[in-house]
């Protein structure tokens, strides 16, 4: 009797242990998609707050100008200060446009008129990717989608930028 009792207890114990391991593994599987979802590379958006980028709206011209600002980014493990960059200008409809300089091919930083042979375009030095002023990728160059666009707002005459989204999704 007492032997039987012991066995049951042992089986129960094993059961618990195995459930424990399984549960642990399931937790492990849950962790990876979660981590991916908040990985800063896959989601360059960070905390989503708008930041004052130190540019007065009166100083925005039709010529793309680079701005840089710092945001605190939290990923799965760390909080860190990251520098964000944008090119800001007014388009033909007099609307403010803020484009991310991160090339949509493999992620180098583009520059405005970075290539002498292609004035009026953004140029990526890594594989000669090009984008027109509104951010549209030039066909025949490696990037397959337009530069991402920052959401923006204006407060007290100053420009605030938020997250960058693929064009049309903002």
């Amino acid at each position: 009797m007492s032997d039987k009792k012991k066995q049951v207890t042992r089986r129960q114990f094993l059961n618990y242990t195995l459930t424990g391991v399984g549960g642990f593994m399931a937790a492990g599987m849950l962790i990876s998609p979660l981590r991916m979802a908040i990985d800063p590379v896959l989601q360059p958006s960070g905390d989503g707050d708008f930041a004052n980028v130190g540019l007065s709206v009166d100083d925005i011209t039709t010529e793309p100008q680079p701005v840089e600002w710092e945001v605190e980014q939290v990923d799965a493990w760390y909080k860190s200060d990251v520098t964000r960059k944008a090119f800001v200008f007014k388009n033909d409809q007099d609307e403010i446009v803020a484009l991310s300089p991160k090339c949509t091919h493999l992620g180098c930083m583009v520059s405005w008129e970075g290539s002498e042979s292609h004035p009026d375009q953004f140029y990526c030095p890594c594989h000669d990717g090009r984008f027109t002023k509104d951010g549209t990728n030039v066909e025949g160059t490696p990037p397959l989608e337009p530069l991402h666009v920052y959401e923006h707002k204006v407060e007290n005459g100053m420009l605030f930028l938020g997250k960058a989204y693929p064009r049309g999704e903002a």
């Binding site: 091919h105 493999l106 180098c108 030095p125 594989h127």
Partner: protein, 152 residues
């Protein structure tokens, strides 16, 4: 690209575009109390610099984990160890390997190295968040990426 799983996965599918390896040479020593603070500072600055450079040229470069060595060991020996790293990297293949360092001890062995040595004099500031350091970073990242692009 960084030495992280998601970037490496991207690298594998886009190898033909990524032909440049970035390797920082990171000296370490811990013996002399009056020098280790400076040593730690330099190591910090070097890693920030390497990260910023990678960010600029991310789509065509792979940032290799830093090559770490004891500061006071015989450089001649290090040269051959380092060259085996470079050989391994270039087997992948990578066309260019750039070695980034603040340690001027490498300069003397530059010709024996199988990568391009980029030695920078480091700026000394009181605090890592100093604006002067930011300016230095900016300027040097710009110039070094221009240098690297001139090899492409």
């Amino acid at each position: 690209m960084k030495w992280r799983q998601d970037d490496v996965n991207k690298y594998i599918t886009a190898k033909e575009y990524i032909d440049t390896a970035l390797l920082s040479l990171l000296p370490f020593h811990i013996l002399k109390d009056d020098e280790i603070s400076k040593q730690a500072y330099q190591s910090d600055v070097l890693q920030i610099f390497a990260d910023e450079l990678e960010r600029e040229l991310s789509g065509r470069t792979m940032q290799i984990p830093p090559y770490t060595y004891l500061h006071h060991t015989d450089k001649q020996q290090e040269v051959s160890r380092l060259n085996t790293w470079i050989k391994e990297i270039e087997t992948q293949p990578f066309k260019h390997t750039f070695l980034i360092t603040f340690d001027m001890g490498w300069k003397k062995y530059e010709r024996q190295l199988e990568g391009q040595l980029i030695w920078l004099p480091v700026i000394q500031v009181d605090h890592i968040h100093d604006n002067e350091l930011k300016r230095w970073m900016h300027e040097n990242v710009k110039q070094v990426s221009e240098l690297i692009r001139s090899y492409w």
